[in-house]
Symmetry: C2
């Protein structure tokens, strides 16, 4: 048996899958670290006694699992694991990452008062055209930009929210506390994937045309009265959302 390959039982599995699993195990055990380049397909083909096309298929599989990034010229690089972000009844980013020892910081990039769009006003339960804050923020985890979002809230209900959020380092939890709201909950999140716009790529420091995870979310008071919409864009390569319906 070739060293490094897992035991192949009678049920076998295909050669590319076994090579992919062996490489995945090496990555998970830290033999290859994020940013490392895997050996070239020719070298691995020789090591495992297979055709280099088989190794390339293993690379493609690892790329589909998000473990590596295959690029022309730079070879096959190990991807850093994504920050897991739990989407439960409470969603504070600082609580999420703080538990993992990752410091979250944020900034308010821009704020303005807008005429509330019909869809936003309907969701917030205010008359169409109500003045709303539109506040753009950027969040970092461990110093790396992970997401940017636009927050919509009633100006009448939350006067000075732009200043309060700025003073709170863009922490929604802290800003709500400063407004006399000690607790809030996530009512709904709609998640989708698309390509980053140029501006989003610049803010998140990802390649233009990289994938982003979009999140259109609604927060509410504990009695489920909606108070806050946040439409966010997360760097697809850096974040993953974790949903555990029985975990709350």
């Amino acid at each position: 048996m070739t060293p490094g390959l897992p035991h192949q039982g009678g049920d076998g599995g295909t050669a590319w899958r076994r090579i992919a699993d062996a490489l995945a195990a090496s990555i998970e055990q830290g033999e290859y670290e994020p940013g490392d380049t895997l050996p070239a397909s020719v070298a691995l083909a020789e090591r495992y006694g297979v055709h280099r096309h088989t190794v390339r298929q293993a690379f493609r599989h690892l790329a589909e699992r998000g473990l590596v990034t295959v690029s022309r010229g730079r070879g096959t690089q190990v991807t850093a694991p994504r920050f897991p972000y739990k989407l439960g009844r409470r969603v504070s980013m600082r609580t999420n990452f703080g538990a993992a020892g990752i410091a979250v910081s944020g900034a308010v990039l821009a704020s303005e008062v807008v005429v509330g769009a019909a869809e936003h006003c309907a969701v917030l339960g205010v008359p169409e055209g109500t003045p709303l804050w539109a506040i753009e923020t950027l969040s970092r985890a461990g110093g790396t930009p992970v997401g940017t979002g636009i927050h919509y809230l009633s100006v009448e209900r939350f006067p000075r929210f732009d200043e309060i959020l700025t003073e709170a380092g863009s922490s929604i939890t802290a800003a709500f506390k400063a407004c006399g709201i000690p607790d809030y909950v996530r009512r709904s999140t709609r998640l989708a994937a698309r390509l980053a716009s140029e501006r989003e790529a610049a803010l998140l420091k990802i390649e233009p045309g990289a994938a982003v995870l979009t999140s259109d979310a609604l927060d509410a008071l504990p009695d489920l009265t909606p108070i806050h919409i946040v439409n966010s864009v997360f760097a697809g390569e850096r974040m993953e959302m974790v949903v555990e319906p029985f975990g709350d």
Copy 2:
């Protein structure tokens, strides 16, 4: 006031945002339908009395909201709305879409028995190296491919699952019923975004390099015993996942 623009109160908002909101309202009211091309920026600039750069900023904003796709040569096209898929304690795709009158169909593309990878066996609570089914399926909603996935289950616990799933038209719910499991629940889902591989793009009939929403999920018996892993890839432009922690 220019026709088609929402009322601009004293709090105003910027010109591009008002134009974007007016176009979004026209799209939501069906004045422009999916696949329609919006008027050129020059024409809209004249209609609204603004510079065409302002209209282009509105287009970019609509693209960021996923309402339109801006492409060189083809102009600014209205995107079809995404199919919403509720990620609750139960996740049957047929139940999800059936409620909206959308027919779901599916097919088994390939199946094999593999030596269970360490990560899969740990999650399923079986010894490392246990033979697992690796069954690839494709799902369509309303005839359009929306997702493709690989399902992992114990071969010992679910003998003949490949045939059963094929007979069930790739419905996991129906296949489990045929195995004597009338009910199952979603324990966890990890969602992320990345670019489609060539194979995924071909299966989902999306552009190579389009964004996909990835879902690594674990299903369990109602007592939460894990039985089924499914790692799926959904067309980013066609699907959105909806999480409502208080909705179950």
